[in-house]
């Protein structure tokens, strides 16, 4: 391994590759910070430009887009409550509250430092454990994915701030509408009000509507009233600042990597789980969701760690762990490289070059973030109507770009109105969005597990990991009741 690492170092430190990394960071920050543009869209759209690049430079550019987008996803989540990447929805829980208190600079700094630590630790883990972890992840089949989705949903139900009943209503609303479209298991069409919905409600446009567009309507209510004055635009990105959360960051990085390795689980579940665990274990857990910086630390360390995690099954088995990893496969094939079980044996410099490119890119991502923080914080001083107009314009463009179709814009607009009306009733968009992510995973995998087990629920419970995760779900759901009894 050491020899391959050394050889790969030579490949990475060439002008072409470093330029590729720089381009990747720039594009990654742009697509990451714009709600609606995800890293997978950004990567896929740049694939044609890699035709003429050398393979290592092309791949380095694509993976840096992937990681940089995750760094940047937190910025709009913190500043305007419009997550740039789905996983940053969890970051907004505390980040946006801090911005409203005038602590945007602090929130952004903590997000940046924790993203860095999460990404760094998980990239090291990727280097040493990709093959072992990827094989272990194969243990996850339908029963286990069903149980994992159940854990995620139970965490949403208890983590969200405000009235528990209202977050449950939002959650179940999400679970209900996610059944629209062709049933993936039986092929029957369900609630197809229009044939455009055959694949269900498009997720990204719904996310943009519920978060970004509904926030725009709230901004319009405020008119020209000044935004909360930032206490200081000074960057506070120092390790000293996050030292109190070291345990949370370390734990979240490991959780993020482990969840990221499971194909299809993804950064959103990673953030959610690590946020839930941090809230449970932190001495200040009660103030999670009310602007506790530790919540940002938990979410950001985990979702950046999940990025490297998703690369493990890709490099070791040729199995894409996420949509972005799937695009990376496309990018590799163009250059005659087929990721799969033979990649480490046939072309070992490719996986190691990817890992090194990530490592080389990290400090630059931090520098961009570090320089950027005072600029982004200054955005708060821009008059609110201007911010609202810019956010809505980008949101509509992003919705369009997600499928090159105006139908997506209509979905965004409708969910924006729904999101706004529900927020006025204190029903927050986060549980709805997370239910949209997890609802499909829950239903499809439950039904697959039942078909394989001849309709017996015991077939699911007889699998130790699935049974363990379902037990955890039960614990999560009854823990608030237990806590209440203890207090009473």
């Amino acid at each position: 391994m050491i020899a391959h690492l050394a050889e790969s170092l030579g490949y990475v430190f060439t002008l072409n590759v470093l330029l590729g990394i720089a381009a990747g960071i720039a594009v990654g920050y742009v697509v990451g910070a714009m709600p609606g543009l995800t890293s997978s869209i950004g990567m896929a759209l740049l694939i044609p430009f890699t035709f003429s690049m050398d393979p290592i430079a092309a791949i380095a550019m694509l993976v840096t887009i992937y990681m940089a987008a995750d760094f940047a996803g937190a910025i709009p989540a913190i500043l305007v409550n419009a997550p740039g990447q789905p996983a940053a929805a969890v970051t907004a829980f505390d980040g946006f509250v801090m911005t409203q208190r005038g602590e945007a600079g602090k929130a952004l700094s903590i997000s940046l430092v924790c993203s860095l630590i999460g990404a760094f630790i998980s990239t090291i883990l990727l280097m040493v454990s990709a093959q072992a972890m990827a094989s272990a992840a194969l243990v996850f089949g339908p029963a286990e994915y069903f149980a994992l989705a159940a854990v995620g949903l139970s965490l949403i139900a208890v983590l969200s701030t405000g009235s528990a009943l209202k977050s449950l209503v939002g959650l179940v609303f999400g679970l209900t509408v996610v059944t629209i479209g062709i049933d993936p298991i039986s092929g029957a069409s369900r609630y197809l009000f229009h044939w455009s919905l055959i694949d269900g409600i498009p997720f990204l446009p719904a996310l943009i509507g519920l978060f970004a567009v509904s926030e725009v309507f709230l901004m319009i209510e405020q008119g020209r009233k000044a935004m909360p004055e930032a206490i200081s635009t000074r960057r506070e990105a120092s390790f000293r600042n996050v030292w109190p959360f070291r345990r949370t960051i370390l734990r979240s990085s490991f959780i993020g990597y482990a969840v990221g390795v499971i194909p299809g689980a993804g950064a959103t579940i990673a953030s959610l789980i690590s946020y839930g665990v941090a809230k449970k274990l932190s001495p200040t857990g009660d103030s999670f969701g009310r602007g506790n910086p530790e919540g940002i630390a938990a979410s950001e360390a985990a979702n950046n760690a999940a990025v490297s995690g998703a690369l493990a099954p890709l490099l070791a088995l040729g199995v894409p762990g996420s949509a972005s990893a799937a695009v990376l496969i496309g990018g590799l094939t163009i250059h005659g490289l087929q990721p799969g079980p033979m990649l480490f044996a046939n072309d070992p410099t490719v996986p190691y070059s990817i890992i090194i490119a990530l490592m080389v890119g990290l400090p630059f991502m931090v520098i961009v973030g570090f320089i950027g923080i005072p600029l982004w914080v200054r955005m708060i001083r821009v008059p609110r109507p201007v911010v609202a107009t810019v956010v809505i314009s980008i949101a509509m463009l992003g919705a369009y770009a997600s499928a090159n179709s105006s139908f997506e814009m209509i979905v965004t607009a409708v969910f924006g109105v729904i999101g706004y009306l529900l927020r006025k009733a204190d029903i927050h968009p986060a549980p709805i969005v997370l239910a949209l992510v997890l609802g499909y995973m829950l239903e499809a995998n439950l039904r697959r597990a039942l078909i394989a087990g001849n309709d017996s629920f015991f077939a699911i419970l007889s699998k130790p990991i699935a049974a363990g995760l379902l037990f955890l779900t039960l614990l999560v759901l009854i823990s608030p009741l237990l806590a209440r009894r203890r207090k009473a």
Binding site: D183, S189, I198, A403
Partner: protein
């Protein structure tokens, strides 16, 4: 940056292409060509189309602009394609899954478009984990009959090409419905992973998705639904060799469609270009690297192939 160079080259080339009459095919292409895909960027079909478009760009000297219109299992792309003028300047991608979508939406049918040419033809195959005690198709049938409902097969979707291929085999082997549980996954790749993880005993997939796992010694191919053994899987027997004589015409295809009423001369011109590109070393190399099976078909042949596929599909899924 690379893309600036490409754009400049293409623009210069576009200026050279003299626009002439578009009716007889000699005038094609008359300016930029738009290539509308029914898939999201990044997948196998998308990458293949982008390779084709860059080949066409060099071959024809005009811009070939790839547009992704995913969603609706291809319905969104169809709607977009049918709005275009039938002059050959707009072409679209097509795979076997369109046939299922026609039935599910009822919005379109096989006559809604012109079937210009086919590019890739992937045969289906059945594979198991290498440590499985199922050594051959015969074992599979015997084991399924012994304990009905004990085995499960992973594949893509419901009423999909893969499931039809499985039903064709099931009938040839005399297996009852329900002896093996069909588990629909979101993609063939997911189904392969589920089988690698031992969540299903058997998987029905394409050669390109299993070859590396066969080489790594984690999967074993029981039979390939084709007339001859494949170059990339020389040790895998065909169904016929394994003793199951089935109709091997049922294959996963990826081709090019054009708006309805595009003149046949223009379709021919497009297909000639595609055929030339497929024989270039760069494209041959790509097809080999991506582990696809080339299967070029000109317009009439493609249309009758698709007619036969459609007939098979409707007869099996109803």
């Amino acid at each position: 940056m690379a893309f600036l160079r490409t754009a400049a080259f293409a623009a210069a080339a576009a200026a050279c292409a003299a626009p002439t009459s578009a009716q007889d095919g000699s005038g094609w292409p008359n300016g930029d060509v738009t290539y509308i895909l029914h898939v999201e960027p990044g997948g196998a079909t998308d990458v293949l189309a982008r390779q084709l478009s860059s080949g066409m760009q060099q071959e024809l000297g005009v811009n070939v602009v790839v547009e992704n219109r995913p969603g609706g299992s291809g319905a969104r792309q169809m709607a977009q394609l049918l709005r275009a003028r039938p002059d050959g300047q707009t072409i679209g991608s097509v795979t076997a899954s369109h046939l299922g979508m026609f039935e599910q939406t009822g919005q379109f049918d096989i006559d809604s478009v012109e079937w210009a040419c086919n590019v890739i033809l992937d045969p289906y195959l059945l594979a198991v984990r290498d440590d499985s005690d199922i050594e051959s198709l015969e074992d599979l049938v015997a084991k399924a009959q012994e304990n009905p409902g004990n085995l499960s097969i992973a594949g893509f979707g419901q009423n999909s090409g893969g499931q039809v291929a499985w039903m064709i085999f099931r009938e040839a082997a005399g297996l009852e419905d329900g002896t093996v549980n069909w588990i629909p996954y979101d993609s063939v790749g997911d189904a392969v992973v589920a089988t690698l993880g031992n969540h299903s005993e058997v998987v029905i997939a394409y050669p390109g998705l299993v070859r590396q796992h066969v080489e790594a010694g984690t999967l074993r191919v029981l039979g390939v639904m084709a007339d001859e053994r494949l170059d990339m899987l020389p040790n895998a027997p065909t169904y016929a060799e394994a003793g199951y004589d089935v109709n091997t015409n049922w294959q996963q295809f990826r081709g090019i469609i054009m708006p309805s009423e595009t003149p046949i001369e223009i379709q021919d011109a497009v297909c000639d270009a595609v055929e030339t590109i497929m024989q270039t070393p760069a494209m041959e190399q790509y097809i080999a690297d991506a582990e696809l099976v080339p299967g070029f078909m000109p317009p009439e042949e493609f249309r009758s192939f698709v007619d036969a596929q459609n007939e098979l599909s409707t007869s099996w899924t109803q």
